[in-house]
């Protein structure tokens, strides 16, 4: 991963651009495709624009996974309740 401070944004190869991507995503708050500094670069290298658009789609869609959808089975609470009842919730139980 390359340091963004050393980047020459006007004259980059696709390989250099990819090396800066992790930092660019972090610095740009996840949105690079609309950054005017890269408009010319994306015009010259449409595959890089496609890569960025896909990575932004993935990051955006990942947020939808935050809402929990999986339920533990009822036995999980039964076990917790049973352990608490028998003193399993005390520090001495810790392995």
């Amino acid at each position: 991963m390359k340091d963004l401070a050393s980047a020459n944004l006007d004259h980059m190869t696709p390989e250099e651009f990819e090396a800066y991507l992790p930092e660019l995503f972090e610095a740009g708050g996840g949105s690079i495709s609309k950054d005017p500094r890269f408009a010319n670069f994306f015009k010259a290298y449409p595959n890089c624009a496609a890569l960025v658009a896909d990575l932004e789609t993935i990051a955006e869609q990942a947020r939808s996974l935050f809402e929990p959808i999986h339920d533990p089975s009822d036995s999980v609470w039964s076990n917790i309740a049973s352990k608490l009842q028998h003193g399993g919730g005390t520090d001495s139980d810790e392995s």
Binding site: M1, N47, A50, I58, A59, D71, P72
Partner: protein, 224 residues
């Protein structure tokens, strides 16, 4: 480079109605209040464990451990962060401790949880006619995330799903922030590769798959 606070994370961890009261009562030993806290947070804790571990049985065991740990530590919760944030951290730390005990040496993230050549993302910029926009739904993404190598999956779940910052992840995984960023980037590249061929993604195990599908249907209904 300094990481910025992620405002979305705090919005997503807003206090839940009745939670503060349940916390205070549970601190005073009220068993019903602790059961309320379990009911309020079991899904989130279990889903987090399942995504990090990729295994139902282990995820249930860790959920149990997380709530037993919560019972012991609740008295130390001072409300300096949202309760769910605090509980998430507690859970993540327990899962990481569990993984270390199992032999996954997260300590040297750079070396040990980097995937093999086969698992690493290919260097491929791709073409515009295969754009993912509009073709990635929740179920497909869940399936792809389940296939990520453990190190990639961990950082992706913690950053892109759970909203932790790279400096927080670096502390938890005992690696550099640069490494966390690099792992995240590789995880997204690997996901891109997997999502380009969604037909090849195996379904999640039974209950998880149907839960993901139901949630996906729910999302579409809401979107209308």
């Amino acid at each position: 480079m300094q990481t910025k606070p992620n405002p979305g994370f705090f919005k997503r961890n807003a206090p839940i109605a009745g939670e503060a009261d349940a916390i205070e009562r549970a601190k005073n030993g009220d068993p019903d209040a602790f059961s309320t806290l379990y009911a309020l947070h079991k899904r989130r804790v279990y889903t987090l464990c399942l995504r990090m571990l990729g295994n139902v049985s282990e995820a249930e065991d860790m959920t149990q451990d997380a709530f037993l740990h919560l019972f012991r530590k609740l008295g130390s919760f001072r409300g300096e962060s949202a309760f769910s944030t605090w509980l998430h951290r507690l859970t993540v730390n327990l899962v990481l401790m569990h993984l270390r005990k199992k032999g996954l040496q997260l300590v040297s993230l750079e070396e040990t949880i980097n995937p093999s050549e086969d698992d690493a993302p290919k260097r491929d910029f791709g073409s515009r006619d295969q754009a993912l926009a509009g073709s990635v739904d929740r179920v497909t993404l869940e399936r792809a995330v389940a296939l990520l190598p453990p190190g990639y999956r961990m950082v992706f779940v913690l950053h892109d799903v759970e909203g932790f910052e790279h400096n927080e992840i670096a502390t938890m995984l005992e690696c550099s922030t640069g490494n966390s960023k690099s792992q995240l980037h590789k995880a997204r590249l690997k996901l891109r590769e997997l999502l380009r061929n969604p037909q090849a993604l195996p379904p999640l195990n039974g209950a998880a798959e149907s839960a993901a599908q139901n949630a996906s249907v729910g999302q579409k209904v809401v979107a209308r």
